[in-house]
Amino acid sequence: MSLLKEPDYGTPQREGAATVEVTIDGMAVAVPPGTSVMRAAKHAGVDIPKLCATDSLEAFGSCRLCVVEIDGARGTPASCTTPVAPGMVVRTQTEKVAKLRRGVMELYISDHPLDCLTCSANGDCELQDMAGVTGLREVRYGSGVDAGANHMDLLKDTSNPYFDFEPSKCIACSRCVRACDEVQGTLALTIEGRGFDSKVSPGGTDFLSSECVSCGACVQACPTATLQEKSVVELGMPTRSVITTCAYCGVGCSFKAEMRGDELVRMVPYKDGGANEGHSCVKGRFAFGYASHPDRVMSPMVRDSIADEWRQVSWEEAIGFTARRLLEIQAEHGTGSIGAITSSRCTNEEVYVVQKMVRAAFGNNNVDTCARVCHSPTGYGLKQTFGTSAGTQDFKSVAKADVIMVIGANPTDGHPVFASRMKRRLRQGAKLIVVDPRRIDLVRSPHIEADFHLQLAPSTNVAVVNAMSHVIVTEGLADRAFVEERCEGFEEWEAFISRPEHSPEAVESITGVPAADLRAAARLYATAPNGAIYYGLGVTEHSQGSTMVMGMANLSMLTGNIGRDGVGVNPLRGQNNVQGSCDMGSFPHELPGYRHVSDESVRDIYNELWGVSLDDEPGLRIPNMFDSAIDGSFRALFVQGEDIAQSDPNTSHVHAALAALDLLVVQDLFVNETAKFAHVLLPGTSFLEKDGTFTNAERRINRVRPVMAPKTGKQEWQIVAEIAQAMGYPMHYDSAAQIMDEIALTTPTFAGVSFGYLDEVGSVQWPCNAAAPEGTPIMHADGFVRGKGRFVETTYVPTAERSNRKFPLILTTGRILSQYNVGAQTRRTANVAWHPEDVLELHPHDAEVRGIHDGDMVSLASRVGQTMLRAQIADRMPVGVCYTTFHHPVTGANVVTTDQSDWATNCPEYKVTAVQVAIATAKADARSERGELVAGQ
């Protein structure tokens, strides 16, 4: 494909039927009411010159280049700010407007450097284009320094690692400022000064020091070279585009990978991407350098013992070695002695093939996925209540929400592009309830303030959600008609939730949430026309993660907030393909499509197609694999694209398990922490080389298209299939498309999905089948997947992880905008400029009593281990609670987290660890692992 330039309609689309008919340059066109003349003209095939207008931003009307003549109207109105009216007759190309436009262009060019031939935007500059379109042939005022007062001497700001700001080329169109306001919602940019002194400014400082979050919206909006990617400055303009999907968070943004030959020049968010609609964040937009980082492993490596040096070997040898060792171990220790972990960073097709290898070639169900340690409670809880393990809405739905409840999620850091959508709705007036121990940015940010911040004590989510339901039931706010028609189990549940012990007053001493606030928040949610819940790992990563998911489902059913736009229960998934990896049968108890392994009719589908007899018993979950490795019954593990040695809790336990294995096979881009325990390292492919699909948090299946051949010579699914073959099980695919065809053939919710269909429609949200050929943006619209929604009693049970005199603080963990999970990708990019190390946020009171100052190195100790990191004094957390991230292996925050887990799914309780913090005194405070839980502490 050549370089894709998407059409720019100048102003945003308006909703509604095309009922307003107008005539533009003699052509009739009908558009929705409220549409601008400029946009209507574009629909009619007429391009009106413009500079300050672009269709991602509301009209501004400053450049005066888009002036037109309208019959019966006075003067020459700007077409961007003029809405259409019935019967309007517009002329866009008259002598009068042509003269005006040339005059405007003359003024712009008189204060613009004439360095087009050497300018980095040459060929991609709207100012250059408009000079041509308007027929500019001379500048009567001279140009540059010859024209008198000018802005040519303004200094270039190169502080941002990814883009430059060159104010001498700025035409003060305000597109960047408006993009920061309207699209991103950060409001980091402003026009400083007045009149001729007006200039764009990131708040009076440089870009890196400013509040700019480097989402790239300003760069994308800039019509000149004023804001320009450094990669374009360095490499030149790209020449071709490939539409693909970001490999970071669960938002799953669509991008144009813009290439020069095989070199990626830049990632530009794709306007037709259903998830992001042209927006991006710093990771997806800029942090792709890891894909070509010198640390990448390009050749397979093998060693007999982890004490040995790695040996580079051929693919044949690595695959043969892996298969031989797996068979030997099974022969000696039994069929169930080996297994695999799939990755949410890999495509659906790659994941499907790994679970197939386990089930068909290994002959067991010992396959689990990294979703085990993040959103497995979502799968369990939503299946129990609604009947399917997935969020209920599309992202767009938030634009219709009247009350938004964010529970245990930090969207502006973890899911920034969705957060921008949410902030847009909040700026329009939607109410906000934040339920979080930490004062996340959403609680108070420009033009946004939460109506309620229920700052609960960590681990008391269930008590809070029960109390909200209690208020709604006992105050008569329930939507009884909805409950009656659509749900079951209500009477029993109503009796349960109405008990006095669930009242806000009764739980206030447990949760720390003032009863009056909780009651008011419950009333606000219950009485909203549309109430929507968005949640993250602050819900799931608890000993009652699954209970909390069911508690939120209860709440939504109770208020009828399910089955239409603007409502629902919406998990914000951590990694790009968490939803997909779960859909693909990665759990040890479920075949693809969330069908239990004990279901004979489902097993028969695969038995027939795969020519095997599938095991009807659940396999080991990740924590069970670790326990079984230590007890000796589990001896070999294949790990696809995950760094469990860093990401999983209680590092010493994980390390002991990995060290006990006879064979550890790691498929990854890098020699990660887990690879230090591995016997085989199979180099993986980056998202730029993969061919497949990702499924995002809104169940949207998006194509991941290769922009270059695999640097390692093989696709990851190919390697897995070859291992299965070498083990004696015939598995072969000619392409990733063929794998998706098999998925569609065997999984009812994917029946209508194929690469061909995705190429045709862009993306689709499952279920996609004969009943829903165009997919399903909103689930449970006419009925729940399980028939009736099920109310589940959710007893609050305090966590066993308690603070005491020795460990008096509670640590909770999270992530930050610029880094991603264990940091394997983002630490190998310039994103380290924003977050070079993990820090411990500590409340001023907790710091003061320990004599800790901002920036001090402190020791962080729990019952299972200790580490050392820098303290950051912050009052975001309540007294007694501290917070850190887990992006850097040097700190290894999971050295201190324990193996407490969710009762239903074994999802670790990352969010609650009793710790002590002290000034670091010596090397003794450096990272150490205690080896086992110390009883009684």
């Binding site: 209970t547 018993e617 007893t795 049970v797 009762w903 239903a904």
Partner: protein, 73 residues
């Protein structure tokens, strides 16, 4: 036996049991048995059975009853 020295599968069984503690023991046991049957690898179930055979100290009564249900199934 301290809860922290119990085997992980016993702690997990107890964690499940307390979720259903508000229900009569027989109902709770049935829920626990159903959950364990659906989600636990057979070797974990065998370990749990063996733990009960050796004496069930530290295991919640409803979980003990769940083991009986599972073994009788």
């Amino acid at each position: 036996m301290s809860s922290t020295t119990l085997p992980s599968f016993v702690r997990l069984a107890n964690d499940i049991a307390v979720q259903f503690a508000h229900r009569p023991v027989e109902e709770a046991a049935s829920e626990i048995a159903g959950h364990v049957r659906a989600f636990w690898d057979p070797r974990m179930r065998r370990d749990l059975y063996a733990f009960v055979e050796r004496g069930d100290e530290g295991l919640e009564p409803a979980a003990v009853r769940a083991v009986e249900i599972l073994r009788g199934a």
